[in-house]
Structures are given as structure tokens and as C-alpha cells.
């Protein structure tokens, strides 16, 4: 049976950021010269390398620290990071894939109702804050799982958390709060 989008509550992961170390010094000039899909940012002391599959962008520093962003799942992020390490190995560096860690996951979830943001903010102070002059969404922070949620009045919620499990937990915890403040149509 195909999913009915009328009442679907999908959590769509849009971005996964991960870091890993290569445990060796990297010559950025050599990477810029011999690697394709590479941008050398001399002022910032880093090299940007883009992979096609999975579609990720990596920032490479000469110390061997690499940050990868753009994956749509934790597994994809790990695969992309490993591909990148393999690519650097092919370029001639003695790379070791160590200290891999997913540091940030961004997901979007849409509620099937609109949300009254002033009421939501009032009933969830001080964790929630809403400044319409600054940003159209209400910001809700959950400290124990280090999750930040942006609640829009259209019902869309953007969740940022250290991993996918925390994202699901954050949405579970927030759903009853936004459900109480939903817009009921006459």
C-alpha cells in the first residue's frame, strides 16, 4: 500500500556532518594539484573536496582533520568519509581512518497542522523562544539530548541533534507540545 501523504509524518534527514582524522600531515598544494573537484582556500588554510557519490563536501586541513557534510544518513556519511580517505591514500599520503564521529544531523519533519507559535512559546518557557522580528520560527532546545528544534507556524519543524536517534527522540518529545498548540480551523 502506498503511503498516504495526507496524514504522513515523515522525518527526512537532509544533512549529516561528520569528522575524522587521517593521523598524518596532508600537503594541501599537492591535493589541489593532483585531485579533481578540489578548491584550495589558501586564506583559510583548507581544501574543499566534493564527491559525487555520495554527494558530500569535505573540508581538509593540513593537520589531517577532515569534516564531511552533505550526506543523508549516518551510514552514507561513513561511506563518503572512507571514500575520501581512500582518495587521499591514492594521492600518496599514509592515511589512517581514525576517530570517525557524526557530530551533527539535520532533519525536517512536517506536522499535519499549523501551530500557534505565541501560545507554544508561552507554554514552554524558558526552553522556547520566539522573536518574529528576528526569525519566523520558534526555537526550542532540549538540553539533555542537545537537540535544537525550529518550529514554524506552517507545521514544519527543523531538528538538529548529534545523531539520528536523538532526532527521533526530540520529535517524540515535541509532538505533544505542538499538538496542544495546533491551529484548529472553524
Amino acid at each position: 500500500m502506498e503511503p498516504d501523504n495526507d496524514v504522513a509524518l515523515d522525518i527526512i534527514i537532509t544533512n549529516v556532518v561528520c569528522v575524522f582524522r587521517t593521523r598524518c600531515h596532508l600537503n594541501l598544494r599537492k591535493i589541489a594539484l593532483e585531485g579533481s573537484n578540489v578548491i584550495y582556500k589558501r586564506d583559510f588554510g583548507k581544501v574543499l573536496m566534493k564527491l559525487r557519490k555520495p554527494k558530500i563536501t569535505a573540508s581538509i586541513w593540513s593537520s589531517g582533520k577532515i569534516i564531511c557534510a552533505g550526506a543523508t544518513s549516518e551510514e552514507e556519511a561513513k561511506l563518503g568519509a572512507r571514500r575520501l580517505a581512500r582518495c587521499l591514500q591514492k594521492l600518496g599520503f599514509k592515511v589512517k581512518f581514525t576517530e570517525f564521529k557524526v557530530v551533527n544531523v539535520l532533519a525536517v519533519c512536517t506536522m499535519p497542522f499549523e501551530i500557534r507559535l505565541p501560545e507554544f512559546t508561552k507554554s514552554n518557557r524558558p526552553l522556547a523562544s520566539y522573536e518574529p522580528e528576528l526569525h519566523p520560527a520558534a526555537l526550542y532546545r532540549i538540553k539533555d539530548i542537545k537537540a535544537t528544534l525550529q518550529v514554524f507556524s506552517t507545521g514544519s519543524i527543523t531538528v538538529t541533534a548529534p545523531n539520528v536517534q536523538f532526532i527521533a527522540t526530540a520529535v517524540e518529545q515535541t509532538y505533544p507540545l505542538v499538538f496542544e498548540c495546533r491551529k484548529i480551523h472553524i
Binding site: 512536517t110 497542522f113 522573536e131 517524540e172 499538538f179
Partner: protein, 540 residues
Amino acid sequence: MAAAQSCPECGSSNIIDDSHHSQAQLVCVDCGSVVSEGLLTTTLSEEQYHMTSHSSQHSRYSERSVLGKQLYRNQNRSESGAYSERTDKEPCRNQIRGLQRVSTLCHILRFPPGVEDSSRSLFERAYRHPAFLGVSLERKEVLAGCCVLLVGRQYSWPVTMGTISSLLQANPGLMAGVYLELVEKLGVEAPPTTITQLVRSHCSSFQLSTASVPDQFSECLSKLVDRASNLVELAGEAWIVTGRHPVPILTAAVYLSWLSLRPVAPRLATSLSRFCKLAGVPLPLPAHKRLAELQDALCKLGKELPWLRGVKLDRKVVAKHAGDILKHRAVLLRRAMESQGGEEVEDSEQAPQRTLGVAEQAACVTAHSGASLSLVGSVTQCAGCEDKELEGAAAAALNTGGNEKGGSAQGSLSSPAGGSVVQCSSAEGSVKPAAMVPVKGTINSAQDLVETEGPGNCGTLPLPAGGKRRRPVFLPPCIVNPPKRRQRDEEESRGREVTGDEEISDSEIEQYIRTPDEMRQFAETQSRLDECRAEVSRGT
């Protein structure tokens, strides 16, 4: 200086060493006569000599003097020992200036005295908070404005952040950062100002009295405020206010109100920018867009007026009929939903089954409080029931000619139904399988919840026979004009599951490494570019 043994006046031997400002004196306790007095001390060594040899508990030196600072520096200190954190220290120059700034802002904004006192005390408290002690002077200047804004909000005084940042000529981004930090560090609650609170203050800034503009352009403030308030309410229902800055909406609403209150030819020929110049008010850039959106919203509702059927209603002429449209907006919205809203959705019996299907396949998350998706569906359908009940009474009132107020007595407008958000989620694409992995544990529980609660919920809430949900008339702009999203290769990602530990073949990596020929060409091109740049820099 040797202490005298007895007083020459009374013969008493009770002589004490008492200092008069910085002059050491020997004074008789019994008769009070000064037995002897020393030189006015001008050197630290003399003061120290007097201090150590003739110290008295009652003697006290000025805290501003060198000796005084040395003697009393350990008293009245905070726990950390910093002078800056002393609670009883005198206010520094910047703090005094900041307090003056707060007072000036309060006078400009015409705060009552009580509000001004609260602002000053909040500023003093914030200034001494560790978070604002070592900050730059610019931040301290902005802190004054933030305190005024915070207290204004607590007292429901209509003042915006933009107003205060323009009065202080401060960077709005900096002001926002300092304001949020102030709220967080001091733990002060302040409800944000709603747009309806700002209507009156914004209208009063427009100089439209008979003294400042010609008669045909002048307008009474109270009428302008009423009409603008109605327009702002309509804008709130039409998704024009949500997520947008309030000032451009208010400017557009005031302009439209001014046009509609007396739609004579000279007024209709005046553009928004000319109106703002006339009224002496700055024109914010997004105001043109907000005006167009307001006019479109009025056109949508105006098509339902019986005496306007067949009349071509566009942005230029809608201002003439704005009064009637606003008077009957509740009824017009019902009618617009019937005639202009398109699809009907399935009835309540099929809704729980559909939600079951969703729970099986999609990564549905249900709250532990039991607020399941089937409950949401039935609330929407109950809303449709109330729709029908209200509509009969309202339509009858409207058909009498639109002059009665009964048709508009239904309270606030209805908001767009949840179907609008549905379209947004469907445009997102399907769920990535990998994203479902950690959430699958809840799917079984979601199924149980839906099975047990779905029919029950539908039973408790009254539903019309064959309840239908209409597509809303007004939709959020992000749904009407969805942003173009990149088409990802979804079939491939659905087809194989990524584990992260797959083998990586050499052929996949070779595409990211240049061939020796390419490297040589790149190096040559790079060197030529460097030479050209060097020539250019030598030439200049």
C-alpha cells in the same frame, strides 16, 4: 611628634589621636580642645608614619586617597576579588552614560515613570552581570536599548526592535544578539509584541492631519486605525503576517486603509512611495510585496460579493470595495472556500485505514500521550461539521444586501486547513530508508495505537454524513511557490541499503584523481596565470 601627656585647658590626660581629613591632631576627649596638630601630610611616608604609630580605630581615611585605597582595598570585595564586581562601588562613567541613554530612550518613547524606573534598574542589574562586564563599548551601548525593549514588552508597550536600533543607530544583528543573551542570562520573560499591538502606534506616526496635508489627503486617526486593524487581521489569516517583519505589513495596511476610506481619484492616483513621502514616513522595501499580497487577498474575497459578480476585480480597483469586503470577510471566506477551493477528500471511515498504511511504511512518530494521527484527522473533519452549521446563518445575513453586521459576527476567520501542509510534505519526496532504521521500534506501537484509538475517536466526535474537507483559500507562500529542489537519484538510494562499510573499488576513486597530463596542463596554466598577475601588479 610626641603625644602630650595632659590637656592644657582642663588638665585631663585623656588625649587621643584624631585625624581631621589628612591632618593628624591630638584632641582632648574631655573638653574637646585641640592639643596639637601636625602638618598637613603631603607624602605617603608621613601618612604611613602617622598611620602606623598613632593608629586609631576611629580614624578613617578617604577611600579616594592613596592610603585609603591601600587600607580599604580588601573590604567590601566580591568573592572573586575583582574590583569591577563590587556591589557597592560607584557607577563608572559608562554606566552613568548608559543610564542616561536609557532615560533618553524612555522619554522619546514616552514611557510612564514606572516603566522608566524598571528600565533603569534592569540596566543596572544587567550592566553588573558577569556576561556584560568585559564586553565592548558598542555592546554596552546596545544593552541600554535592549533593556528598554525588554521592559517595554513586559508592560505591553508597542515598541519594535527596529525602532530602538534605529534610534541608537546600532547594528540590528548586534542588537538581536545582545537581546537574546540578555533574556537568557538574566532569565527575564518578555512576550513578543504582536502586530495588532503595533497598529495604533504605527498609524500615529503617519502625519495625515489637515494641518500637514491637503484636505483630500487628510484622514482621521481612529478610522485609519480601525480599518488598518481589520486589514492586519485579514493579513494574519491569509498567511501574509507569519514569518514576516511587521513594519512593511503595517505600512501597506495603512496605505490600503487610507485609499479605501475615501477612494477619490487623487488618492487612487497616489502610489505607495508617494503616500509615504506625503505622510513623512520611511518606506520599507518589502512593503510593495506585502501590498500586492494584501490586494490579492482582498480580490479573492471580493469575488464572492453578490454585487461584484461579473465585475473585473483587480489590484487597482479593489481598494474601493475594501470596506465591504472587510465587513463581511468571515462569510466571504466560507463562500470562497466553496467556490474557489477545489478537491474534496475521503470521509472519516477511510481515514483510520489510511493512517494504518502510513504507519506500516513511513517513519511515523506518535507521541506517548496518545495523540495519534487518526485523532488529528478527525479534528479536521469535525471542523468541517462546524463549517456547515455556521454557514447557513451567515449566508442568510449576507443575502439581505450586505449592510447588516450579523454576517460578520462569527468571530475570527478560519485558518487554512491542514491540507496545505500536506502538500508541502508530499513535495519533499519519500522517506530515506536509512532514516527509518532507528525509528522502526515505534512503528509497531503506532499501529496498535491507531487500531485501538482510531474508531473510538471518530465515534466520540460528531461528524456530518459524508464529511468533506475543502481546500483552503489562503495557503502559505512556501506552498503556493515551492522552492525548486534538486532531484536526487531516489531510485538508486531506495534500491540499495548503505551500511557504511562497503568495499571501495579503485575505479570509484580514479575519477577524483587527475591524470599526469591533466596535472601538467594545470601546472602550466597556473604558472601562466601567476605571470599575468605579476605583470598586472607591476604595471599598476
